[in-house]
């Protein structure tokens, strides 16, 4: 049972397309794993569609003329189906003798997962190349791994893909989406089980100032 979800504001921004690519990926992957949020997203899509498309009356001055319409129709009929070179989704991830199944959105972007590198302790990291300027990583913690206590500013989201980790406050399992409280330091660790997480450090574009100052359990190690 997933107990920690993105807030509804974040889901709205996800649907309207106003989050950064990295945050969209993390929230989208949570939605793949979470039936509750998937339904909320369906509702939000319908609501935003009603607000942005259904109820909009065309502004008289900018309405398309008949000839514009005909021209565009002609261009569309003449166009060929744009079959962009799409990468085959690959939902299998092997690491340290473990096999993980990646959720849909992540599987669609498996070609963006870079080389794994071993870090201190029992930690591994693979960067995801999305676009300029964001820092997104898959992080694997073997059983008994521990990230030393630290603080860091900047908005970060962490999603548990598979496994369990805990900090002083709580325990997080498959599908849990975490934005951390800026007022505390954290010491993420694994116990008997390992844990694969997806984490990003970046700010959604229209976030209010309060939320953009959040603590991140991993950033000390991974985002410096």
């Amino acid at each position: 049972m997933i107990k920690s979800h993105p807030g509804e504001g974040l889901l709205y921004q996800y649907v309207s397309g106003d989050l950064s690519a990295a945050m969209t990926l993390v929230v989208g992957t949570h939605i793949d794993m979470c039936k509750t949020c998937r339904q909320t997203v369906c509702d939000i899509e319908q609501k935003l569609c009603e607000e942005n498309l259904d109820t909009l009356v065309s502004i008289a001055s900018s309405t398309m003329s008949k000839s514009q319409c005909d021209q565009m129709l002609e261009a569309i009929f003449a166009s060929s189906a744009c079959n962009k070179q799409v990468h085959q989704p690959n939902e299998l991830l092997s690491l340290e003798g473990r096999r993980f199944t990646l959720p849909r959105t992540l599987a669609h972007n498996s070609h963006r997962i870079g080389e794994w590198s071993k870090l201190v302790g029992k930690l591994w990291r693979a960067p995801l190349t999305l676009d300029n300027g964001n820092q997104t990583n898959l992080i694997y913690m073997a059983p008994g791994a521990k990230v030393s206590e630290h603080t860091h500013k900047g908005l970060e989201a962490t999603l548990v893909i598979d496994g369990i980790f805990n900090d002083e406050q709580s325990e997080y399992r498959d599908g849990d989406f975490i934005l951390l409280d800026p007022s505390r330091t954290h010491t993420p660790e694994t116990q008997n089980e390992d844990c694969l997480t997806l984490a990003t450090l970046d700010a959604p574009m229209h976030f209010t100032s309060g939320i953009s100052r959040l603590l991140n359990p991993f950033s000390h190690l991974f985002f410096r």
């Binding site: 509804e8 939000i44 259904d54 398309m64 189906a81």
Partner: protein, 206 residues
């Protein structure tokens, strides 16, 4: 950390006019997908192009970019109509999410490098891959059978008939489609809307 605190969904009850419009658009999309009908597409285009243009003009404040969004969105509708899933949402919601994706890419066009991620990779709504996300609108069967008899009478006629045939007479969606002479896509979208409505009724009356 943010927790979900009892989201009660009261959104999105559609009026009869909206349902009719959705049925019509769904039938047009089926026609495009199955027969590549230019007439059906022209009709969809007339329904949606002005709305998309208005949406895009507000988003970009630039007429040329707005027209680009209209053209790219409708081009996708023409080529990808077969990917519309009537049981997942209404036609206009589907078209809105396509426009959302186009907008996402257009906003990044200037900064974008070749390998940068695109909207279709983030929201794979137009993926040909048959991803199996389980349907969020299936109701728990036991709950459904208990509750349905109390509430289904409150559904709009078109939806009630479909629910009756499927859940009480035990027909498949295809059989209902054949019996009523209504396209399968329409039956699927009516089922979805009816289940959604029932869920709201059940939640409201608990």
């Amino acid at each position: 950390m943010q927790m979900v605190s009892g989201r009660t969904s009261k959104r999105g009850s559609m009026t009869t006019t909206q349902t009719d419009a959705a049925d019509k658009a769904a039938a047009l999309l089926t026609e495009i997908a199955e027969n590549r009908s230019r007439a059906a597409f022209s009709e969809i285009f007339r329904l949606f192009a002005p709305k998309l243009q208005s949406y895009a003009t507000r988003q970009f404040g630039n007429e040329q970019t707005a027209m680009d969004l209209v053209q790219e969105t409708m081009t996708n509708v023409w080529h990808k109509a077969h990917l519309f899933k009537p049981d997942r949402g209404s036609p206009s919601t589907w078209i809105f999410t396509i426009a959302r994706n186009i907008r996402f890419d257009l906003l990044r066009k200037n900064k974008k490098r070749k390998d940068d991620i695109s909207a279709d990779e983030l929201w794979p709504i137009l993926s040909e891959q048959n991803d199996s996300l389980d349907d969020g609108y299936a109701l728990d069967h036991d709950v459904l059978m208990q509750e349905i008899s109390h509430y289904y009478a409150k559904l709009p006629d078109a939806q009630r008939v479909v629910i009756e045939k499927i859940y009480i007479e035990g027909k498949s969606q295809q059989e209902v489609s054949d019996a009523l002479g209504v396209p399968l896509g329409t039956i699927k979208s009516r089922t979805r809307l009816a289940l959604k409505k029932l869920k709201e009724l059940i939640v409201d009356n608990d």
